[in-house]
Assembly symmetry: C2
């Protein structure tokens, strides 16, 4: 590891996640933790009893847990830096989070903070709208990540502003980690229980790395999951020791169409923060997506359904659980809720008619 | 009023709603109260500033506030009575609520409590399934309410069981009232605010009457709303002084396809519990339904959208508000979340294509 990486890894402690939580508490929603008898019942058999404890970050400000990381990053910037504006490069929820975090910080500090969000030119109109509605300037660049980074660099050179990110920046990871920290507290306080395991999805790996830090010195196991479609790079990387660029990503779980960040990968691997990473096929993600909405009565984007799909449908995962013990309290984070009714129509229409249009 | 009615009306006090709350607290979910900057922004103009405080009873056990009334009724029955079983006549959410309340009471009292739910033979399969899944026996009878009542009477004669209802029974109304009682507390505790008004939908009138009792000696105004389609019987009844049977009800807000209960009507009218009742057209209910799901990220059934639609779109209502003062804290109850993705597809498909199929 280079010296900078050693330094970053050393910062990745529960104490720093707790400090981040104190820092961002006034800005974030303390999102509800839900238990679902019906989902737990569906997941349970005679041999394997599962109770779900579900953290609703789809109800977080800006519609995803990413508001936590963006807020924690922003809170540690000087007035002078923020006056020059912030820039984010993203394909999705992080842009909306940065836009809203900038607006929130702007109100708190009583001066305008300009946010520029660089999105692929092919982004869904609802995503562009959502980012603009939160007050950011949307800059549309190519669909290639390198194009977008070049555009961001130009903006930064011109404005002298601050780049929010990358997603393995410790300030971001600490912020994301506060979601699972809160979940642990809620499980203890409102149900008097502890979690036997958490299951988190991995895109750039931020919320998974955060959960790993939170659970490091506890008895709570941490499992990761990725869509099979488009190349599960974290699973392969942990198996081979080398992170390779994933193939073109096309999963319905659009929030996870991202390469694992180098720093998050190194952290997860070197500190062995995650017990195992599994993959989930598209049909199971969609089935779990529908179940979540109908049984839990919350709107989630498909990325939020990957963990539930793993627990409900993956026989390898379920056998592994059952072999260890019979009763499992499992923590899940619904990572985001940024979807539209139109998107749902498109995704489910085929299923209803028996054919994909 | 007959003596029994006088007696019932005298029971309708805030103290009794509070007592109901203490009674059912261990059984119900303390559902979250959500604030939505985006919905409040959409509702506000330069002249009229609106802040929504939204109580998520769609996340209540059994998927609607009706679990409160059913639980409060059940809690006041003797063991001997409950051993003979309970019967409910309903077209919707109340059946699922009674089924789950019976199962919950059964666990608490350690003996089986058999619930029979009489539904129209034409009920949606998902509704029948939901009721069965909660452990009740579903009895399908004719689509005419009188047919169903006759069947229920036969079951009661045979079993010696207890009829849960009707919907103007004080034990039911007190239970439903706890939803708005909790909302008032949550607005005060978590936001340090008070409500200027509550807007509640009316089917049989239970949650509206309950809210009226809760707000009776406060400065919070209470407004009711009904779908225009199929005959707004409460609005007409209050105007004419006589409750007439509504026309065949076909509104998309299926949870409100019910006649106002005589007792709830008398109570609302005689105690002047409601400031005004408005009607809402179908297109506005659907638009608000979609907005709620996309902006608040919760699954609601269309009945839950009628209040929001009134506040967002009814110019008469909005002018009345603006004429009184410029800033309004408005409380809303999302009454239920029992819908399916298939139902959404059916309802929104036409809009997406520009034609109704």
């Amino acid at each position: 590891m280079a010296l900078a990486e050693v330094h970053a890894a050393r910062q990745m402690t529960l104490a720093n996640v707790r400090a981040a939580h104190e820092r961002i508490k006034p800005m974030i929603h303390h999102t509800p933790m839900m238990m679902s008898d019906s989902l737990s019942q569906i997941a349970s058999t005679r041999q394997l009893k599962i109770r779900f404890f579900i953290k609703c970050e789809n109800l977080q400000k800006s519609g995803s847990f990413k508001f936590r990381g963006a807020s924690n990053f922003m809170a540690q910037q000087s007035d002078a830096a923020l006056r020059r504006g912030v820039v984010a490069v993203t394909t999705g929820n992080f842009g909306q989070a940065v836009a809203l975090a900038a607006r929130t910080a702007s109100r708190a500090r009583s001066f305008p903070i300009h946010a520029s969000v660089v999105l692929p030119a092919t982004s869904a109109p609802s995503k562009i709208e959502g980012t603009k509605r939160n007050g950011a300037t949307v800059v549309l660049a190519g669909s290639d990540p390198e194009d977008r980074e070049r555009v961001a660099k130009q903006i930064l050179q011109y404005t002298g502003g601050t780049l929010i990110g990358p997603m393995d920046d410790p300030r971001i990871v600490h912020g994301q980690g506060t979601a699972t920290l809160e979940l642990m507290d809620q499980v203890r306080e409102s149900a008097g229980e502890t979690l036997d395991a958490m299951v988190l999805p991995s895109g750039t790996g931020g919320i998974l790395a955060g959960a790993g830090i939170v659970c490091e010195d506890t008895d709570t196991m941490v499992f990761g999951c990725e869509p099979s479609e488009g190349g599960p790079d974290l699973q392969r990387g942990l198996a081979s020791g080398v992170l390779s660029r994933p193939k073109k990503q096309t999963s319905v779980a659009d929030g996870l169409r991202a390469a694992t960040s180098k720093g998050n990968f190194d952290l997860i691997r070197q500190k062995r923060l995650v017990d195992e990473v599994y993959t989930v096929p598209e049909s199971e993600i969609k089935q779990a997506w529908r179940l979540l909405m109908e049984q839990l009565r919350v709107i989630v984007e498909p990325s939020s359904a990957v963990s539930i799909a793993l627990v409900l449908f993956n026989e390898g995962f379920r056998s592994m659980l059952a072999a260890r013990k019979s009763h499992w309290n499992i923590g899940i984070v619904l990572t985001g809720g940024n979807t539209t009714v139109t998107r749902m129509l498109e995704e489910f229409e085929g299923g209803r008619r028996g054919v994909r249009p």
